[in-house]
Amino acid sequence: MPRPGFVLDVDRSTPPILFHHGEQFRLEKLPAGRSRVIYPAEPIEALDDPDAAIHHALLHPLGDSEPLPALLKPGMKLTIAFDDVSLPLPQMKAPDVRQRIIEQVLDMAAAAGVDDVHLIAALALHRRMTEDELRHALGDRIYDAFAPHGALYNHDAEDPDNLLFVGTTKHGEEVEINKRAAESDLLVYVNINIVAMDGGWKSTATGLSSYRAIRHHHNVKTMEHSKSFMDRHSSELHHSNWRQGKVLRDAGIKIFQIETTINNNTFGHDGPLSLLQKREWEWTGRDRLTFLGMQKGLDAMSAKRRRQIFMGWRAPYGLTSVQAGEVDAVHEVTLQNCFDQHLVPVEGQTDILTMGLPFICPYNVNSIMNPILVMCLGLGYFFNLYRGKPLVREGGVLIMSHPTPWDFHPVHHPSYIDFFEQVLADTTDPKVIEATYEKQYAEDEWYRHLYRTSYAYHGVHPFYMWYWGAHALQHLGRVIIVGGDVRAVRRLGFMPASTLQDALEMASDVVGRDATITHLHNPPILMADVS
C-alpha cells in the first residue's frame, strides 16, 4: 500500500535533506525545531491493464457524450489533437500513453470507415516537436502512417490561413483556434494531466490557439489573480479558458476529451535514480553509496554531458486513470485523480519556503534550463503547487537551489536571450515588462519565422514565463537562489547565495532569526493543501 505524502518536523536526528539542483544534487541540513519537510505521496497503484482501461473509457464516456464509436461516421472529418513535448516531465517510457490512446482511436475510426484523419500536436506557442519527439509520443506506426502524407503535424499559431476566429466571450476575450480542428466533425483531444493545471478547456482553448486568443489569459493581471493556477476553481487563468471553451462549444465545435493521470513513479523503484523518491532516513547503505558516487560523477562532468544523461531518462510512470467524454465532466474526475496522488495536507504557512529545482520544466525538454525558466519553475510552477493558501506567508522568503547558468539554447529560446539581455536589464516588474515590451516581441518577424520554420518558442513566450511568476513576485518579500550564477541571479532580480546557510542568514533580514522553514520535497510532484 503506497504511503501518502506527509509533513516531517525536522529535529536533531533528521538526516540531511535532498535538494535537487538542476542536473546535480545537494544534501542540506535544515535547522532543527523550526523546519519541516513536505514529502510527496509514494506512487499510487497503476492500472493493471492500461489498454483495457483506455478501451473502457472510450466506450463509456462521462457527461453528455456518446461513446466514441458512435461519434465516428464514414466521410467525416476527424482531428486528433494531443499534448506536446512539454508533457509529461520527464518523458515517459515507451509506449507513451498518447500512443496507446491514439492507436485505439484510430482503430475505431478505421472500423467506422473514417479516412479523413489529421493528427495535430497542440503546442500553442511552444516550439515544434521534432520527428524523434513525435515518434516517441505516438510510436513509429502512427508516425509512418500519417506524417509522410502531411496528416500529422505541429499546430502553427502564426499561420493565418489555418486559424479560425470563432468568437468573443462576454468578457471580450477573443477565441481563435486551429482551423482544421474547428472545422472537423469531431475533435478528439488526448491529454496527459501530470498536474491539476493541465487539461479541461485549457487543452483546446490554449493548446490549439494563437497569440490573439492566448494573450487574454496569459497576462500579468490574470496570473496575479490565479491563486493558484494549479487549483482550477481558484484560477483566473482557468476561468478565462473556460469562458473561451464555452464559445467553442456554442459554436458547435464537437470535442471528445480524453484525459489521463499518471502516478509519481518518476525515478523508478530500482536503478540509480530510485533513491530520489525515497525518504532520506530510509536510504540504505547502498543508496548512500549510490548517491555519493552519482554526486561525484555528476560534479565531474560537463554541464552538457549532465544534460544529455538526464534528458535521456524515461520515467516509468504508471497510468492511474483514463476518462473520456464531455470536457467538464471528464476534467472534474481527472482533477480528483490528480489530487489523489499529489495533495498533501499542510497546516499553516511558513516564513521561508525552500525548494530544490530539478533539471527539467515544461519548456526545456531536450534543451537548456535557462535563467528565465528557473524563475518560471520556482516562482511559477513550484510556488503555485498549493491549494488554499500559498505555503509561504505574504512577505516571506523563497529560497531555491539551482545552478542558474547564463546559458540559453539558441535554437529553442532565441527570444529568451533577447528578453534576458534587453528586458530584464531594464526591469523585472511584470506589469512594466508587459506594457513596454510584449507587443514588440510578440510581433517580431524573425521570431515568427523561427517559431514557424525552426524549433523556437514563440517570441512572446519568455514573457509568459515571467508572468507565470507574477503572483509569487507580488507575494514574496525576497527570493534567493543558492548555488546560482551570480550575474544571472542578479539579472533576475534575486539575491545569490553560495550556501543554504548563507541564504537563511540573508532571509533573516526579512523574516527574523527564528523564522519557520518549510522545504518542498519535489519532485516527485506534490501539491500542498494548506489550511
Binding site: 532565441p414 533577447d418 534587453q422 536589464a425 524573425w446 523561427l450 524549433y455
Partner: protein, 412 residues
C-alpha cells in the same frame, strides 16, 4: 625641464610589448618611456612658434598603444625620436605682452596638436590644409620641424607630458575665462568625436551603433546627440559606469559587447542570419544599422561593425586600428563603406566651421569637463598609465597628468 620622454630603444620596446600583454599599461614600467628631470628645452622652430607650459595633459588610447608597444609600425616614418608624448593639452601661453594675459604674463590655451603646413612653415600649403582639413596634411615629414603627425609625437615640439613645450600660434585656442582646465582638456578628444559624428552623415531617424564607451565612444555619443538629434543611438558599453555615462550623454539603448548583434536586430527589425541556417546563434544581420561608429578599432569590434551594419551602410573607424585580421566578405557583400576618421579640421557638414570651435561648444553644452576622472603628477606616471589603461573597469573616463603643481614649471 621635467618630461616623460619616449626614446627609440628596440629592447625596451620589446619588453614593453611583453609587459603590455600581461597588464594593460604595463609597458610604462619597463618600456622606452622614462621620466627625465633634466630634459633639454625644445627650441623655437621658427616664426610663429611659442612656448607653452602644460597645465593638464590627457592620456589617450594612441599614447597607451605606443607605451605598450601595440601601435602599428605605420607610424614609424611619421614620428621622430625622442619625443615627449601628450597631445591633449591645456597650457599657459607664456606671453607677457598679450593683452589677455594674467598678471603673471600667461593666459590659458588649448592645443590643436595636428602639425599643418602653416606650422611647418611650408608655403604654399598643401591642398588639404588649403581646404582646412589640417588633419590630412600631406607634409607630415617636411618643413621646419622633424616628422611628426602631431605635437606629442615630434622630437622638436615636445609634448604635454612635460613642464614646457612649443606650439605654433595656429595651433592655439584661447580658453574662455569661465572654463575649468578640465573642460579645456576635453576639447581635443571631443573634436575627434565631432569630426567622426559629422563625417558619418547620419540621416534623420537613422539607427546608429557606437561600439565602445571609452572616452572616444562616449564623446561620439555626445556629438551624435548634438549634431544628429533624431537618430537612435545604441551604445555598446562594457562597464557599469560607462553604461551610466553613455545614457547621460544621449544613448537611447545599451548593449553589452557580446549582445550587440541581437540588440541591433531588435532595434532595426532585421532578420538575423545564423551560422547554421535558420537557427543557432546569431552570426550577422541581413539588414541593420545605417551607421556604425567603431570606437575600439579591434578585430572583434570591426567584425561586429560589419555584422550589424545594414546594406550600403557606413562604418566609421574612430578608434585607432592597427594590424588586424578581419573577414571582409560582409563589407563586400553588403556594399558597406569603411571610413577612417582621424583628427579634425573644418566640417563641411557644419557649414565649414572649424571642428575645434564646434567641440568647444559641445564641451560647454554637455559639461564634458566632468569626464576627467583622475589626474596624476608626472612622477607617478606608471600609476597614471595603468589607471588610464584600465579606466573602464575602474570607473574612469579620462585620466590626465596634472602639471600645475610641478615646481620645475615655476622655475622656467
Amino acid at each position: 625641464m621635467k618630461a616623460l620622454v619616449f626614446s627609440r630603444k628596440p629592447a625596451r620596446y620589446a619588453a614593453a610589448m611583453a609587459a603590455g600583454r600581461l597588464t594593460p599599461g604595463g609597458g610604462a614600467k619597463v618600456g622606452p618611456l622614462k621620466l627625465r628631470h633634466d630634459h633639454d628645452h625644445p627650441a623655437l622652430p621658427g616664426p610663429g612658434w611659442r612656448y607653452i607650459k602644460p597645465r593638464l595633459a590627457g592620456i589617450c588610447g594612441s599614447d597607451l598603444a605606443t607605451i605598450d608597444g601595440t601601435s602599428s609600425r605605420y607610424f614609424e616614418p611619421i614620428v621622430s625620436f625622442p619625443f615627449v608624448p601628450g597631445h591633449e593639452v591645456v597650457a599657459d601661453l607664456v606671453d607677457p605682452d598679450d593683452r589677455r594675459a594674467r598678471p603673471d604674463g600667461t593666459h590659458r590655451v588649448i592645443l590643436e596638436p595636428v602639425l599643418s603646413c602653416v606650422a611647418r612653415g611650408i608655403d604654399p600649403v598643401c591642398r588639404h590644409c588649403a581646404e582646412g582639413h589640417l588633419g590630412n596634411c600631406a607634409n607630415l615629414t617636411a618643413g621646419a620641424i622633424s616628422p611628426g603627425l602631431q605635437s606629442g609625437f615630434c622630437c622638436d615640439t615636445g609634448g604635454g607630458w612635460s613642464t614646457l613645450m612649443v606650439a605654433h600660434e595656429s595651433q592655439l585656442h584661447a580658453v574662455p575665462d569661465h572654463w575649468t582646465d578640465e573642460m579645456a582638456l576635453m576639447v581635443e578628444p571631443t573634436a575627434c568625436a565631432v569630426h567622426s559624428a559629422l563625417a558619418g552623415e547620419v540621416a534623420e531617424g537613422d539607427v546608429v551603433v557606437v561600439i565602445g564607451a571609452g572616452t572616444l565612444g562616449l564623446l561620439t555619443i555626445a556629438a551624435l546627440r548634438r549634431f544628429a538629434p533624431t537618430c537612435t543611438i545604441l551604445a555598446v558599453a562594457k562597464h557599469p559606469e560607462q553604461r551610466t555615462e553613455a545614457t547621460k550623454l544621449g544613448a537611447d539603448h545599451l548593449a553589452a559587447p557580446g549582445e550587440v548583434k541581437r540588440a541591433v536586430r531588435r532595434r532595426t527589425g532585421a532578420r538575423a542570419v545564423t551560422a547554421t541556417g535558420a537557427d543557432g546563434p546569431v552570426d550577422r544581420l541581413a539588414d541593420g544599422a545605417a551607421v556604425v561608429f567603431d570606437c575600439v578599432g579591434s578585430a572583434d569590434s570591426i567584425a561586429d561593425a560589419i555584422a550589424v551594419a545594414g546594406p550600403r551602410g557606413r562604418i566609421m573607424l574612430v578608434g585607432m586600428a592597427g594590424r588586424t585580421s578581419v573577414d571582409l566578405t560582409g563589407l563586400w557583400h553588403k556594399e558597406l563603406r569603411l571610413t577612417g576618421t582621424y583628427a579634425y579640421g573644418v566640417e563641411p557638414a557644419a557649414g565649414g566651421r572649424r571642428t575645434f570651435d564646434l567641440a568647444m561648444e559641445l564641451v560647454e553644452a554637455a559639461d564634458l569637463g566632468r569626464l576627467v576622472s583622475a589626474a596624476y603628477p608626472l612622477s607617478r606616471y606608471p600609476e597614471a598609465i595603468a589607471h588610464a589603461a584600465d579606466a573602464g573597469r575602474r570607473g574612469a573616463v579620462k585620466v590626465a597628468f596634472d602639471l600645475r603643481a610641478e615646481k620645475e614649471r615655476d622655475s622656467l
